[in-house]
């Protein structure tokens, strides 16, 4: 009888201990979870932008996928005909060359004109100014850019030589600087001219800058890179 009582007590205590431990674990889990959320509640806005960003990228990739799929289908359809498949290849080569900068291109866009200021305090336009404008244009989605008819390609540099001479693609350029860009016109203009945009900043310190939008009958025309693009080192 005495033994049986002890056994019951032990079992009861065991169960109680088990329950207690379980409850504690549950609590730890909840506490640690709440800790994470408290940090991350601050970032909802950021997450929304991030989501929009990835949605856009996905959409773009999807479009390209469809496009390429169609191209492949065309190749398959026109396999028999030599002339037609050759046309397809030429079309593809043209697309590559547009990105590369090896063809004259046209489209909607903007023209930016900058002049050196006579005011010593405002100073001249520097190669860094031009570099930043080109960078801002690329950010705004520009597909083709030129400065004084020098096409900006992937390997283009914009430097100052001997403190005064500005060179683009190793060619000297002089004020006034005319920068042409093809892309979504509204977006290009607003991102450069809008509050805090790079052109807006230049204007505020007194530089002589103007932006002109292209019209339907007067598209932006950008010449091709006028030298051979050669590579020696990359394979």
């Amino acid at each position: 009888m005495k033994k049986k009582g002890k056994l019951t007590v032990t079992i009861t205590m065991g169960i109680a201990c088990f329950a207690l431990v379980m409850v504690m674990f549950m609590q730890f889990k909840i506490v640690s979870e709440t800790d994470i959320t408290s940090i991350e509640t601050m970032r909802e806005e950021e997450l929304r932008t991030e989501l929009a960003n990835w949605k856009d990228k996905y959409q773009e990739a999807n479009n390209q996928y469809e496009e390429k799929n169609q191209k492949l289908q065309e190749y398959k359809d026109k396999e028999a005909s030599n002339a037609e498949s050759s046309e397809l290849i030429q079309k593809e080569l043209d697309q590559v060359n547009v990105v590369l900068g090896k063809t004259d291109v046209e489209g909607e866009g903007i023209t930016i004109t900058l002049k050196d200021s006579d005011d010593v305090e405002v100073g001249k336009i520097t190669s860094d100014n031009l570099l930043s404008i080109v960078n801002a244009l690329k950010l705004a989605g520009a597909e083709a850019i030129s400065i004084n008819e020098e096409r900006i390609i992937n390997m283009s540099d914009i430097v100052t030589v001997n403190l005064t001479v500005i060179k683009v693609n190793q060619q000297r350029i002089l004020s006034p600087y005319i920068i042409k860009a093809i892309g979504n016109q509204t977006y290009l203009e607003s991102s450069l001219l809008g509050n805090g945009g790079y052109i807006d900043q230049l204007k505020k310190i007194g530089h002589d800058v103007s932006i002109e939008k292209s019209t339907k009958n007067n598209k932006i025309k950008i010449p091709k890179y006028n030298k051979e693009i050669t590579t020696k080192y990359m394979k």
């Binding site: 109680a16 990835w54 479009n63 590559v96 866009g109 930043s132 540099d157 892309g183 979504n184 394979k235």
Partner: protein, 240 residues
């Protein structure tokens, strides 16, 4: 008798502890209830972001597969036609220059890291970190020195790549990257290494105690651009 007393005492203490535990838990749950519902939308958002990222990555992989098929098709079509073969070669070379294929070659690897100096030891602590303009200038100097392909933390520089500030990180090709910045460039190593000359941009950065390291290498691999290039506005002017 004493035995029983001890047992009930122990049980009593345990019950007490259990009750306290439950009470604490109920309070925690109550406190966090509001946060939990908020974090619910957050977690949803985070899940969505991950989902789209994954879908994007999968699409890009699909596109890669398509590209291979297309190339095979093109080769098949152009096999017996010297003019078309030339066009096909130009497409391949163009894609290489536009950053759509992995490339290898000799060159340099430049590492830029934020200064290790105490922020309080200088007037303006923002001088101690690597900025978007610093990276942009270094890239520009590399291009000036004849670099043929460039990447920053494995983000390939393509014709449309912009380098912009996004708080304490830098945004390249829509991807956020942070210091240290590892810039790889393919070209003649001796010319590229000239970036470290006195009065060059790298030397200026060093003066501000930014960590600058330049290594020459005979075998650098630069990854291809992982996204898609999609032009909508620029079209070739047809010669008449």
């Amino acid at each position: 008798m004493t035995n029983k007393k001890i047992i009930s005492l122990v049980l009593g203490i345990m019950c007490f502890a259990l009750t306290v535990g439950i009470c604490i838990q109920i309070r925690t749950v109550e406190n966090t209830n509001s946060a939990v519902s908020q974090s619910y939308t957050e977690n949803n958002l985070r899940g969505e972001v991950l989902k789209y990222k994954e879908r994007y990555d999968n699409k890009v992989k699909d596109i890669e597969k398509l590209d291979q098929e297309l190339e095979a098709k093109r080769e098949q079509v152009t096999a017996n036609n010297s003019e078309l073969e030339e066009a096909e070669n130009q497409i391949k070379q163009g894609n290489k220059l536009n950053g759509l294929t992995d490339v290898t070659g000799p060159g340099v690897i430049i590492t830029l890291s934020d200064s290790k100096a105490e922020a309080s030891s200088v007037m303006d602590s923002s001088l101690l970190v690597v900025h978007d303009l610093d990276v942009l200038s270094v890239i520009n100097e590399l291009k000036n020195a004849g670099a043929e392909a460039i990447s920053i933390n494995d983000q390939r520089i393509i014709p449309t790549t912009a380098i912009v500030c996004g708080g304490n990180i830098i945004n390249i090709n829509g991807e956020k990257i942070g210091a240290p910045f590892v810039i790889k460039a393919i070209g003649l190593p001796e010319t590229l290494a000239n970036l470290a000359r006195p009065e060059g941009y790298l030397s200026i950065l060093k003066e501000y105690q930014i960590g600058v390291e330049l290594k020459k290498s005979n075998n650098i691999t630069i990854n291809k651009y992982s996204g898609v290039i999609n032009y909508k506005y620029a079209t070739t002017i047809q010669e008449k």
